[in-house]
């Protein structure tokens, strides 16, 4: 049995760990509220843009000179997996869930004899993906120097992706991120981003009644061409925001569990400590009594 001093030391160390997890939990709770608000504020723009895109893609998407971002390259050989992770840990299975989804898709694509390349956003996805596919990691997008990924980052990523697409480095791009459902549930999600899937006109709120005569300035195709990159940026931005909210939610839950575990452990150790102390006192008393009786 551990000595009293050892037990005391262990109790103290668990206590300080608990302090850390508790602090991290409260920080995550505060950040979660902010992240959720940010995700909510971004919604009007995304919805409006989606409805405009839907009506434009419906009109101009079928023509022969529709932009390549919409129609694709005509090949499905090379896939780019864009994996969005966070930069920090302490968020339970948040990062490993996204990585697992991406690796499963990569395996499936490789089995179908496709070429796969990774584009990694955030620090936490690098190590596991590099371990699994050392020669397939193309780009690491660094977000460590920004506090929260925002529109500027989404813009940079989208421009890089479009550049790569125009250089013919891939045919199809998938985005992996975690969709925020609640603080308790976040689902890793895959979404095709290039070629841009035309938003469904039926599901998005379309304020202009279809069939109404709408004037376009410049032409529909030109507007579409300008809006497609912007739409891609918005999608990436939305994914980054969802990811951020998910990370905080996952972190909050994980840290709540850790704090509770630490509490249980402290209780257990305290009981053990008290018992040992009692046993030591009893032994001492017996020794004294035995000594007195011997006299």
């Amino acid at each position: 049995m551990a000595s009293l001093k050892e037990l005391k030391g262990r109790i103290n160390s668990v206590k300080s760990t608990q302090k850390i997890t508790k602090a991290k939990q409260m920080v995550a709770a505060a950040k979660l509220r902010k992240a959720q608000a940010a995700a909510e504020e971004a919604r009007p723009y995304a919805e409006r843009l989606a409805s405009v895109m839907a009506s434009l893609a419906g009109r101009a998407g079928d023509s022969d000179n529709a932009p390549r971002l919409l129609t694709g390259t005509g090949s499905t050989k090379r896939h780019l997996l864009v994996v969005a992770n966070s930069d920090k840990g302490l968020a339970g299975a948040f990062n490993s869930n996204i990585v697992r989804a991406a690796l499963a898709k990569a395996k499936e694509l490789i089995a179908e004899d496709k070429e796969v390349e990774f584009y990694l956003i955030g620090r936490k996805g690098r190590a596991p993906i590099r371990r699994a596919y050392p020669d397939r990691v193309g780009v690491n997008f660094d977000t460590t120097d920004v506090r929260e990924p925002g529109y500027a980052e989404a813009e940079k990523i989208a421009e890089e992706l479009i550049g790569m697409y125009e250089d013919g480095r891939f045919d199809i791009a998938h985005l992996f991120y975690s969709k925020f459902k609640s603080a308790l549930t976040q689902t890793p999600t895959r979404q095709q981003i290039i070629p841009v899937p035309a938003p469904d006109a039926a599901t998005t709120d379309n304020s202009a009644p279809t069939g109404a005569v709408v004037d376009y300035e410049p032409s529909e195709e030109e507007i579409l061409e300008e809006l497609l990159p912007r739409y891609l940026k918005t999608q990436l931005f939305g994914a980054l925001l969802e990811n951020n909210a998910s990370e905080q939610g996952a972190s909050m839950t994980a840290m709540d569990n850790a704090t509770r575990n630490a509490g249980d452990l402290i209780d257990k150790l305290t009981i053990q400590y008290n018992r040992s102390r009692q046993a030591a006192i009893t032994t001492e008393l017996i020794e004294i009594i035995a000594g007195a009786e011997a006299l």
Binding site: A38, E41, A42, P44, Y45, A46, R48, L49, V52, L56, G150, Y151, A154, E155, S207, A208, A212, V213, V214, D215, Y216, E217, P218, E222, I223, E226, L227, R230, K233, T234, F237
Partner: protein
Amino acid sequence: MPLHFELVTPAKLVRSEEVHMVVVPGSNGEFGVLEGHAPFMSTIRDGKIQVFASQGATPDEIEVAGGFAEVADGRLTVLAEHVAG
């Protein structure tokens, strides 16, 4: 009914209000939108949007970049990537 004007950026809804007229720097030239404007879509070059709260009022100027305007159902929606002022 006055014109309903909305200015939206990726980060948030900047403005949503009833106004008299909005002058938008479209990529093919400036255009003013009053109530009852026909359905219309246009890209916007980087510049200033002028918002007239009422007839003859001094316009409220908003700097936008990377924008797009849509007029439908008596409302004007401007989607802009960046907004200043």
